[in-house]
Amino acid sequence: MSAKDTSYAAVMARKNEIMKASLGIDFDDYMQSPIAFDYERMMRETGYSLDDIRRIQRETKVGDTPLFELRNLTEAVRRMAGPGKGATILVKDEAANASGSFKARRASISAYEAAKKGYKGMIAATSGNYGAAVASQAAQRGLKCIVVQEVYDSRGVGQPEIVEKGRACEAYGAEVLKLTVGPELFYMLLRALEDTGFFNASLYTPFGIRGVETLGTEIAEQVRARYGKDPDAVMITHAGGGNLTGTARGLLAAGCDQTRIVACSVDLGGLHMASDHDFNRKSFTTGHTGFGVPFATWPDRVDVPRNAARSLRYMDEYHLVTQGEVFYITELLTKLEGLERGPAGNISLTAAVAVARQMDRDQIVVVQETEYTGAGKHHNSQLAFARENGVEVRRGDPKDNVPGKAIVIPVSLDQVWGKEQDMEKLRLSYLRNAAKVAAANTWSEADVAFLAADIKRDSAWVRQHMAGL
């Protein structure tokens, strides 16, 4: 261990130097002001073209995943939709990647970059599929791997889904630092980076996000080849924003500029994300509003100085679904389509059902990921665990679902509606957060232009709303 001061304050104070050494990216180079930075140049200067990324990913069993038409589910939606309604629902089976989720795309370029630059290993702080992806990619590139994971509450109890994710990391040969609840995960990441000199395989670097772009280009190519048109909507489970940002960038690179980019999260309103008590009452470990909303409205709250995942830049709509709705659709996917997949990937499938019933029959909606399932990482495990921990589980109207208290599984498919979030409110919330970094009356023309691009609006819109912040 390092002889340096390891108190919380001392380690956090060394954040910038630790980051510089562990990433090989000088973020200062892209900064234009406290508000603005050159996002596109930062993304370009990873030095990898989309063809390079595809080649690198093929080396480590990533990408080229199947795109399936969910014929029975589409039929079921059409039966309850109005005349002429009910878009065709497709799913990109990302569980087919090494390590069982789209996160392999996100880890693959970091692993390649770390090996190329001569790092001995890589580290990621995550409680999700990303840990397994980093471990699996590191194993294939001959790198050591440490995963820093929030696993337990203060009683030493962890949700089965998180415990399974930790197991997967160890299965791929990683050292897993298993921690209790708290935002100090970032502090532990910094300590591990400082102790080892390993590469920071942060979820939020340009490498991580560029790796997801192939998911978007593959969708564009597969849908065009089979249906002779572009997808009308792509549904994306949204947490930290990388899945949405990378996929949307890939779709745009392929020329799908009319495709609706729809974010989807499980509504966990009312639960505190850093609370020891609430930790095991979420029934979802990711893809929920506890990450989705704060990351959309301020991306730069992460383990790198500027986040390459900037979801509001690309998002057209944001749909919320309840826990009960997702568990219902997960079971329906299994029974109707013969596909058993983990719940997190089915968040966007649930929103897709709600959206497809309102779209025309000749339209196409793509659910852009699945994830592997198994012991712990299964909807039955999560529901049984919820019930054991005092959460009520019943069938009924999903509108009665209360996160942490009652999971209400719909009685029938026509109760699956989800709920659309107000995008303008999210954009204003982003601007308010920017105003905390630098007061709105100090924003330059360039700042306003940056902010406008970052929320998919024009400078006039930002100026119109500045006064009210």
Partner: protein, 94 residues
């Protein structure tokens, strides 16, 4: 109590931050408890459970903490039957 042999696969526990050392931003309930780390590795010297020990992790790092578990394993499962799921998408509900 008998000693656990050197080289055994074990899990150690370490209090990383005491309650009063935690990040300023943590909510009240979390602030009451320490920030705790558990990690697995091979035991470097024979020791009893509860002793302060050193381990070598699977990637070769030496870490220290209190010896907590011998042969740590996983017991998560598919969970007990959730009857509410059984009928979804079947004839029983058609």
């Amino acid at each position: 109590m008998s000693k656990i042999e050197k080289g055994t696969w074990v899990e150690i526990e370490q209090v990383v931050l005491k309650p009063e050392e935690r990040a300023p931003s943590v909510p009240e309930d979390t602030k009451q408890v320490p920030y705790v780390l558990r990690v697995s590795g091979f035991l470097l010297e024979a020791a009893e459970l509860g002793a302060e020990v050193k381990i070598r992790t699977i990637i070769g790092r030496e870490l220290s903490g209190v010896l907590r578990t011998v042969n740590p394993s996983y017991s998560h499962s598919f969970g007990t039957t959730v009857p509410e799921l059984l009928t979804i998408g079947t004839e029983a509900e058609a």
